[in-house]
């Protein structure tokens, strides 16, 4: 069962208000609105052209010879899970099968999905929005989908959970980044706090928290400029933004999420490691799962760094954000 929005968020003491829908702002864009929770993800996966992808048919799990194990490994490697995590998971499965703990055939596939789901799951970690205001900081390398994710998140927080939201335009670096977030805020019906281009990103977050406090707004979501984790000066700047938030409000940011593009290969691990070091990440948003990439790197990140995936992006429309479901994800990793 896919998780619901209620399950995926910790809203603290205050029960979420009745879901009233969005009065201001647009409704979900695009012809695909209203499709089932994961239908779109499945659709895109089934129509994906995986010419190079091995087919993990049922017979594979019946025979389980050397070649079959290789095919399983191959599928995971092709999904960007990475050699190390693949070897770990498949090694464990193989040991269990050999010990007679798992009967051949479908139970093996079932167990594989379970092992993968376990590796991706951070004990069902929820997005912690229990503080008032709760501050969520969004970071990541260039172009992964940070700003878009913020637009979608703000919309869902309002619509699904009845929360009021301020977005903070703390990407003061990239050309037109503020205008981009402004448009998303308008669509989502969220307020925006902005500085000026080239201004101090920390100051924007500071002002946004102050505004949320004085207006009784529930959540602040801060956009930050995309940056490659190898530029130490930019990472230091990000750490500073975080410190400013912490200084302004104890415990903030309550969530620091890295946005990882599902097409990312093994470099994703280095990204996550570097960002975690700089800003003490609490989780991952995995975007662009509507393409043919499986996002297996998120599994490697979860299993090696203990950073759970919390949300996934499945398109460019307002409603294309979902709570992460480890089983769905694991199944999709193996799907053709």
């Amino acid at each position: 069962m896919a998780r619901s929005w209620r399950d995926a968020f910790d809203l603290g003491e205050r029960p979420a208000e009745g879901v009233s829908g969005v009065e201001e702002g647009e409704g979900p864009a695009g012809p695909e609105s209203g499709s089932g929770l994961f239908k779109r993800l499945r659709d895109s996966l089934s129509k994906s052209r995986q010419a190079l992808q091995a087919e993990l048919g049922a017979s594979l799990f019946d025979q389980l010879d050397e070649e079959a194990w290789e095919r399983i490994e191959e599928a995971l490697i092709l999904a960007d899970v990475g050699a190390r995590t693949t070897a770990e998971v498949v090694g464990r499965l193989e040991a269990e099968v050999e010990a007679g703990a798992v009967p051949r055939g479908d139970p093996v596939r079932e167990r594989l999905v379970e092992l993968l789901a376990e590796a991706a799951d951070g004990d069902g970690a929820r997005v912690d929005l229990s503080a008032r205001p709760a501050v969520v900081m969004i970071a990541g390398v260039n172009g992964t989908g940070k700003t878009t994710t913020i637009g979608k998140l703000a919309w869902h927080l309002r619509r699904e959970l009845g929360l009021s939201v301020i977005v903070a335009a703390a990407d003061t670096y990239r050309a037109a980044a503020i205008e981009q977030l402004e448009q998303w805020a308008e669509r989502a019906g969220a307020e925006i706090v902005r500085g000026s281009p080239g201004g101090d990103p920390g100051a924007v977050v500071f002002d946004a928290i102050a505004a949320a406090e004085s207006r009784g707004v529930d959540v602040v979501v801060a956009d930050t400029a995309g940056r490659l984790h190898t530029h130490s000066n930019l990472m230091a700047e990000l750490a500073k933004v975080r410190r400013v938030a912490a200084k302004r409000l104890e415990g903030a940011p309550h969530e620091s999420l890295i946005v990882i593009d599902a097409t990312t290969g093994q470099n994703g691990l280095r990204q996550a490691r570097a960002f975690a070091e700089a800003v003490d990440l609490t989780g991952v948003v995995l975007t662009k799962l509507d393409g043919t990439a499986k996002g297996g790197i998120a599994l490697a990140i979860a299993s090696e760094l203990g950073l759970p995936v919390k949300l996934i992006g499945v398109g460019e429309g307002l409603d294309d954000l979902r709570p992460f479901d480890p089983r769905e994800f694991a199944t999709a990793l193996l799907a053709e």
């Binding site: 190079l52 050699a83 190898t230």
Partner: protein
Amino acid sequence: MFDQLSDRLQETLSGVRARGKLTEEDVDRAMREIRLALLEADVNFKVVKQFTSQVRERCLGAGVLDSLNPGQQVVKIVNEELAELMGGASRDLAFAGSGPTVILIAGLQGSGKTTACAKLAKLLAGQGKSAALVACDTQRPAAVDQLLTVGEQAGARVYEQGTKRDPTEIAEWALGQAKAAGDDVLIVDTAGRLHIDEELMAELAAIRKRTKPHDILLVLDSMTGQDAVNVAQAFAERVDFDGVLLTKLDGDARGGAALSVKAVTGKPILYASTGEKLDQLERFHPERMAGRILGMGDVMSLIEKAEEVSDQKQAEDLERKIRRQEFTLEDFLQQMRQVRRMGPLGNVLGLMPGMGRAVKQLRQADLDDRELDRLEAIILSMTPAERARPQLIDGSRRKRIARGSGTTVQAVNQLVKQFGQMRKLMAQLAKGKLPDPQQLGLG
């Protein structure tokens, strides 16, 4: 983990020398290391399979198994094959005989198209061509604003009609404008799109049909994983792009996706983008990329260069000295000069296996060729005895050397200390032990 593949290969194959012959199993073991390194670098699984079987065949071929240093031979073959796969017939942009040259920029969301457009305009301006841009990304919020801003920064005219019109029409209109204005080049920025998005891929094909671009570039993020082949194949099918512009190479991604794309579509990589600033775009060098993918520097050219500058006998002498920690400051001076004859410091260090990290630190410390001049001056102010036995250098000698070289006592101290550390490190390396990477930061 895979930072020093060449070292690991040497290690894997080190026992071979004693036995005098490389066996098939040795080669297979080496292929396993290579396979892992390539996968770690995000080269597509199928491409890796094909590649290693090809390399294996060559390694088992004549002359390799019983050569003097089979480890080095294997590394050399791998590097050659990689460069071959990456390179091939590289082409330049094609320019129109008359009227504006049209360059169509396409790619997935977030790959870096808009910035690439402005960079390309700037690069072409440097070649005396006036390039204009047209904003055909009507999808992403504020994409037009972004192009206007970076276009201005690059000194390029930007044609735009907002977001309400059809991108195909905007492109066609802009081509008319560019003709009238006498622009040499028109660069068409398009919305990021998924290769499986039928509607948007059809739109791209329509823009191509209407504007008849002379060049179509696929913008590819160097951090892309296994999916790169699916993306490239789909774009090749629908718009038959001419080459790849590889972005975000200032990160630490190995960039194996570039190799996969080249292997699967045969399309060359034309440009490499290495930063957010508009002048950070350059022509692509296949040889460098091969080394980056394996994290082993361009071993082949290093070996060749080393062969050029030092003869076999000399090299063997040196190796013995290093092993026994008998390497002197005089030797160091000779080596340093030899290395400097090969080219600027950064390039040469980048060529050395396992030195990628050192280069980065050098850059951070701003240690450049001037620093080497200083080191040379210090060593030249020493007597031959001091060069052979640095431990002779006491307080008063230090003062003399500092004065003679126009440096400070601290600088002399530092050189002597670092040299001692380096000598130990090199002896370890020569004995086949992997040094602590921290130590490779040159102290």
